[in-house]
């Protein structure tokens, strides 16, 4: 299980600062932050600790289990973006 960033994300990156496992990308120090559409959580790395959800100023991060059907799409979106990044890296 993992947390998921929703499309309302504004790239504030407060979540990046608190993540204990650095699974949120792109971090402000990483390439691609300036042009990123939104940030995403790598579900393979996420440890479900909830720190990001607490830190998010606009409540744009939710537990995977709590996604409404309409938002389920963001689960795959986060995973896809994570996968794309790992392929580039």
């Amino acid at each position: 299980m993992a947390y998921v960033i929703l499309g309302t994300c504004i790239n504030d990156a407060a979540c990046v600062d608190v993540c204990p496992v650095a699974c949120i990308h792109p971090a402000p120090a990483e390439a691609g932050f300036a042009t990123a559409d939104m940030l995403y959580i790598d579900p393979q790395i996420c440890i479900d600790c909830n720190a990001c959800a607490e830190a998010c100023p606009i409540n744009a991060i939710v537990r995977e289990q709590d996604l409404t059907p309409k938002l389920l799409r963001y689960k795959t979106l986060n995973a896809e973006m994570a996968l794309a990044r790992s392929k580039v890296a």
């Binding site: 204990p20 496992v21 440890i47 479900d48 600790c49």
Partner: protein, 730 residues
């Protein structure tokens, strides 16, 4: 050349497996060790930033000796010689009890340190031993002793199979389910069980993160958990919802039934501020759930009736057959006989305090008594203090009184990482070590964890050059005092002989060290081999979860769980006949504590990588209370009690009980720089200054850190003297 070391985080009982990347003697990164078969999913920023604590700018790396208003560096030899000579003088003139001691939470995670600390105190022969448990967990020890016949009967929540969770005074979303138990990933597993249909009932005056998730949130009046719990028992017994055929034999059920039935439900409801119907509803849901558990944590223990409430919660579990049942509470036998060994580490001492004639709990006296034991003159007055990894001025009640007391000592020695609030008046500052710098097997943890699990903690980096580990220092001090370590004749001779042999043979391991004792203890358990544990760098899950151990583990003479210990019945009857309101016109509100995941009591808050936003505590208020005072979030308030006053920013939090304010503890402890007098760092304020050191739970001797009567006033402007809320070097 970087190297990877597997160990586990030793800040809290989550025991998250860690993967530590080290380059030379420097930690490059710490990550959760996903190969650890037991725990890593609770990994948090505390573990992530552990290496920043090693590099603490104010860290002590040499013994420091007070000279006038300053500190100067000294050698260990000088330190040990001087401390031993002064202790010796005090003991000779005033007796061993004139040497007091206090140990804090971090020492508990340092098994070698704990063993040799006790060894040193036994060498000195003092009965004046104080510890952090007396502001935290002592109620559990008292209840366990009365009900199960041993002070340590760690009952662990079996969360996956539960159908009903009744959490009282706990916030596992923040605490990650740890207190006197370790359930790895416990909070997420509770949520998972809830998703599959389990009910989550949370009793907490505040709208905690956990309460947010609850199916039912009971915003109870602080300090009245006992009345709520007795109400539940009243309903359960009245409606015959109890189990008459429990897995673990019970005694005293008739007595507690009579007591519960005789208490009028509307009176109990009135006392705890929870509607009769809600009490009935919770009672029925809990009792009729197929499997379930009631868990009480510090929200309960920190109240004047924390022991009574802890007992009633245990009775609730017992009579609904939640003990040693799937989805209830069970014990993990571990690989050593924990109950036997615990009684060696925390012997049921005969020592009583001089002034209030109080017994020990789990081998130690209550921190709340320490200030008076130092200041009130007379035979047996404490004149010297050793403080190991402790910060009692901040952790305990009425820190101002203790600070005053510590300033009067003939000798104050602290053994810690940095010079903290409680070490302000220290004559000697002895450097401590960090868990990243130590190794060892914490055999006591074997019985506090959910599953049969063992892991040897590995050292990631060496302590700074020349810094002794705590156990080494304690040993040297006992040798210098010429008093046998552990108080056992001949031990010092064995130490000297073993050292001589080690030198002669060129094998340092031959000199007495904590591994000897760890090996002996593992061997005594006859279940595992020490070397096999060493062979599992990620930790070793050596068995499966089992039930059926509790009945055998009982140490009561009749091998039953005592549901109605006379002392508790008596106290409960008295509580029922008195009707005390904690609030008054002068102090109309009640203060409670709260958990903050990044905070570890008073000793990590200044770590740069923790607290990205607010590096401070604040007073959380109900919107109605704030509105009545014209307070907005971000404004400042003065919170006063009969004992003290603090000023701090306000945060308005809806959803909790009006009339209750929450302030997290552990803040406002200064960090001193002994090399630069006058330079201190502080974050937040110490809310325990509001807590009376004389109002104690009569059994646990825990002060009322919760349900503290207070008054809140709006401050027109932010106080000038206040420590800045975000960061401060001044």
């Amino acid at each position: 050349m970087s190297e990877t070391i597997y160990s586990y985080c030793q800040y809290c009982m989550c025991m998250c497996g860690t993967k530590i990347v080290v380059d030379g003697n420097r930690v490059v990164d710490i990550e959760p060790d996903r190969e650890n078969p037991f725990s890593w999913r609770d990994f948090c920023r505390k573990g992530k930033t552990a290496a920043q604590v090693i590099d603490h700018p104010q860290r002590l790396t040499r013994p420091m000796k007070r000279v006038g208003d300053r500190y100067v560096e000294a050698s260990y030899e000088e330190a040990i010689t001087d401390i031993a000579a002064r202790l010796q003088r005090i003991i000779e003139q005033h007796g061993a009890d004139a040497v007091g001691s206090y140990s804090g939470n971090p020492l508990g995670f340092n098994f070698a340190g704990t063993m040799f600390w006790n060894g040193l105190l036994d060498a000195i022969g003092t009965g004046n031993r104080y510890w952090v448990g007396s502001v935290d967990q002592n109620n559990t020890h008292v209840v366990q002793e009365q009900m199960y016949g041993t002070e340590l009967m760690a009952l662990i929540g079996d969360v996956d199979d539960a159908k009903c969770f009744l959490f009282i005074g706990m916030d596992p979303a923040q605490s990650k389910f740890v207190w006197m138990e370790t359930v790895p990933d416990g909070w997420n597993r509770v949520l998972e069980a809830q998703r599959k249909g389990a009910e989550l009932i949370v009793v907490d005056p505040r709208r905690s993160t956990t309460a947010e998730r609850a199916d039912t949130h009971v915003a109870i009046l602080p300090g009245q958990d006992w009345a709520f719990l007795l109400g539940l028992l009243h309903v359960i017994f009245s409606e015959r919802l109890e189990c008459t055929d429990t897995a673990v034999p019970l005694s005293g059920v008739a007595e507690i039934r009579a007591m519960a039935m005789s208490a009028p439900l509307d009176d109990l409801a009135d006392r705890c501020g929870v509607a009769v119907e809600l009490i009935r509803d919770v009672a029925r849901r809990f009792a009729t759930a197929e499997r379930g558990m009631c868990i009480t944590h510090t929200g309960v223990s920190h109240t004047p009736t924390g022991t009574i409430a802890e007992w009633l919660a245990a009775v609730l579990n017992a009579v609904t057959n939640r003990l040693d049942q799937p989805g209830g509470k069970r014990i993990e036998p571990g690989y050593i006989d924990l109950i036997a060994i615990w009684s060696k580490f925390a012997p049921p001492g005969k020592h009583r305090t001089r002034l209030r004639d109080q017994p020990t709990v789990a081998g130690f006296h209550s921190l709340a008594e320490l200030a008076d034991e130092i200041t009130v003159p007379g035979a047996g007055q404490i004149r010297a203090m050793l403080i190991a990894a402790g910060n009692p001025v901040t952790s305990g009640p009425d820190g101002d009184a203790l600070d005053q007391a510590l300033s009067q000592l003939d000798l104050l020695v602290s053994i810690d990482f940095v010079q903290r609030e409680s070490h302000r008046h220290a004559h000697w500052l002895i450097p401590g070590t960090h868990f990243l710098e130590r190794e060892g097997l914490h055999v006591l943890f074997a019985g506090l964890v959910e599953l049969p699990f063992a892991q040897y903690a590995r050292r990631a980096v060496k302590p700074p050059d020349g810094v002794m580990e705590e156990w080494q220092f304690f040993t040297e001090l006992a040798l210098a005092l010429n008093r046998n370590l552990f108080g056992k004749p001949g031990v010092n001779k064995i130490i000297r002989a073993s050292r001589w042999l080690a030198r002669l043979s060129g094998k340092p391991g031959w000199a007495l060290n904590p591994r000897w004792i760890e090996r002996l203890l593992v061997k005594s358990g006859k279940r595992l081999k020490y070397d096999d544990i060493l062979r599992h760098p990620h930790g070793w899950l050596y068995g499966k979860k089992e039930y059926g151990h509790l009945a055998r583990a009982l140490r009561t003479p009749d091998k039953t769980v005592h549901c109605a210990p006379p002392r508790f019945l008596f106290a409960l009857r008295r509580e029922l006949t008195e009707h005390r309101t904690r609030t008054s016109a002068a102090f109309p509100m009640l203060m409670v504590n709260r958990r903050v995941r990044e905070s570890m009591n008073s000793w990590l808050n200044e770590t740069p990588g923790l607290f990205e936003q607010h590096r401070s505590n604040a007073v959380e208020m109900h919107p109605d209370d704030a509105a009545a005072l014209g307070l907005e979030s971000g404004q400042w308030a003065r919170v006063s009690s009969a004992t003290g006053t603090v000023e701090l920013p306000v945060v308005i939090v809806a959803g909790g009980r009006a009339g209750v304010v929450a302030i997290p503890h552990g803040w406002g402890s200064r960090i001193f720089d002994p090399r630069a007098a006058g330079r201190t760092r502080t974050f937040g304020v110490n809310r325990n200054l509001l807590v009376d050191r004389r109002e104690l739970d009569p059994f646990s001797q825990i002060p009322s850190l919760n349900a503290t009567p207070v008054r809140v006033e709006a401050l027109a402007v932010r106080p000038q003297h206040a420590a800045p809320a975000t960061s401060a070097v001044h």
